[in-house]
Amino acid sequence: MKSYSSIKFLFLLLLFFAGCLFSLAYGGSNATTISDFSSDNFIFWQIRVPKTITAILAGATLSAAGLILQIMFRNPLAGPYVLGISSGASLMVAITILTGNTVGFFSNYFIGKSIIVLSSVTGSVLITLLILFLSKKISSNVILLLVGLMLSQICGALQGALEYFADPDSLKSFVMWGMGSLSGTTNSDLMIFIPVSFMALAVLVFFIKPLNAFLLGQNYAINAGINYSANRFFLILVSSLLTGITTAFCGPIAFVGIAVPLLSRMLFTTSNQGVHILSCILIGSIILLFSDVVCHTFSADFTLPINMITTFVGAPLVIYLLFKNKQW
């Protein structure tokens, strides 16, 4: 058992590095710049490298957030996108950008970015709390999923209304943000993105035991000596941070958060969440790295939206599971 797991991890690592190489090699420009590492290679250092790092971070954070949500709700169909948490983050960013531009928040780069990140995380926390409140009244996994989708629609509609009434300048900066792509992140953005994601992911080491206990349900978790409400509070915070930070820089990315933990449980038959945290981070990164490559390979002139690819991977998997009706 153990040796198989390490072989699988080795395989995932190989895929991860292959994904990094491909992602660095493919981009909006035809120039094969990967062999040229001199600092004046603008395309490589200012576009490809931040894009690849963004793909890794976005995949890792969304997948880890999905894993936490699935365990917290004891629902294998939960995820930041399907529960409307990404849309909540997106809506908060819309409110901030579309109303804040007039206040002049965004004259300073770092303050502006930090405020976007903060509002994105706040939006995630609010929707997670709402879902948590609703989940106590809903016993069915599928109905919770439907409620999440409705919430996401409501957020989308509110966002649409905001856009309709926004002045052209703020609308432009919001539309630029909301493109939902991995390529929009600059090296300066990474100065915020990298440390926050790393911190939120590293903190998960201390939640291996609570997550393992949460698998048994609230009562057995409490009887296993876990402070249930305190741990749930921090897990909401961490998962919202993970979803919020990525949504702040990439826009809402679909289906990675729900599909990757499912794949991880198919690949590793253990129930130890220490293994699954690590494998979710790896699988999530791999999927977004290769999705990014696919986005760029169809045409040199345009880039497909990343959501198109992730939906093509994630949605059929969810449908398959619904049909199979197996508890993962």
Partner: protein
């Protein structure tokens, strides 16, 4: 405070809160259970057996009064300290997330593992002996979804044993078990109480088993609980009523 009492309930109300109003299911309960005592909790459906067991291990908040385990009040015990004092088997089913029989039993050792939940050889030894005691050796690698109701019940009982607490609370553990397993379970619990000096409360509708193996019977009826020595239980008028005259 009597230090010999493993569980001391003083003037407590048990129940739950709904829409900010408390619903008292059991009222003004004062009881003492000693170490080494194997107690059968009997009562009709909805009489409050589960409420009592859940309240004693802190899963339901006390509405009034106090409960102490081995001389320490529940309010003074942290979650992890309480988990080393009292373990419970519930009636709820758990499944999914690749959980197998071994993992569920291993959860019993969770209060004793480090923050990464790493199982050391001494933890594994205890888990393995609990699995063996419950006759689960052949099933330990099966997913919880693949287990029959009876085997799942045995798994959770093994979890309770693996937790190695001085107080064990089991909520209808004999439901779903076959005839032989029911007797084996009660024999096992009785020997745990007598040899390891544990205080074991087991709620059950199998009145014949309770009468055969338990030391005392806790009769839960009309919002009260009455502790009856086993010799009197069979001839107790209320108990006769509980059995519908069929016993």
């Amino acid at each position: 405070m009597d230090n010999r009492a493993a569980i001391h309930i003083s003037n407590a109300n048990f129940g739950y809160t709904k829409h900010k109003t408390s619903v008292d299911i059991l009222k003004n309960i004062t009881l003492k259970f000693g170490k080494g005592e194997f107690i059968g909790v009997a009562g009709l459906n909805g009489s409050g057996k589960s409420t009592l067991l859940r309240s004693v291990c802190g899963l339901l908040p006390l509405l009034k009064g106090d409960v102490s385990i081995n001389g320490i009040s529940l309010s003074e015990l942290s979650a992890s300290e309480l988990a080393k004092q009292a373990s419970i088997v519930l009636t709820e089913k758990i499944s999914g997330f690749n959980l197998n029989c071994y993992d569920a039993v291993a959860a019993g050792q969770m209060p004793y593992t480090n923050i990464f939940n790493a199982l050391e050889p001494e933890h594994k030894k205890i888990i393995n002996s609990a699995i063996e005691a419950c006759g689960l050796l052949l099933h330990q690698n099966k997913l919880l979804t693949e287990l029959s109701d009876g085997l799942f019940q045995k798994t959770m009982i093994a979890k309770c044993i693996a937790q190695q607490t001085p107080v064990m609370l089991l909520d209808e553990p004999s439901a779903f078990l076959d005839y032989a397993s029911k007797h084996e379970l009660f024999l096992l619990l009785k020997s745990l109480a007598e040899k390891d000096n544990k205080c074991i409360l087991v709620s059950s509708h199998d009145l014949d088993l309770v009468l055969k193996y338990c030391h005392k019977v806790l009769l839960v009826k009309n919002s009260t609980a009455e502790l009856i020595p086993i010799e009197e239980a069979r001839w107790h008028t209320v108990f006769k009523e509980l059995s519908g005259g069929y016993l």
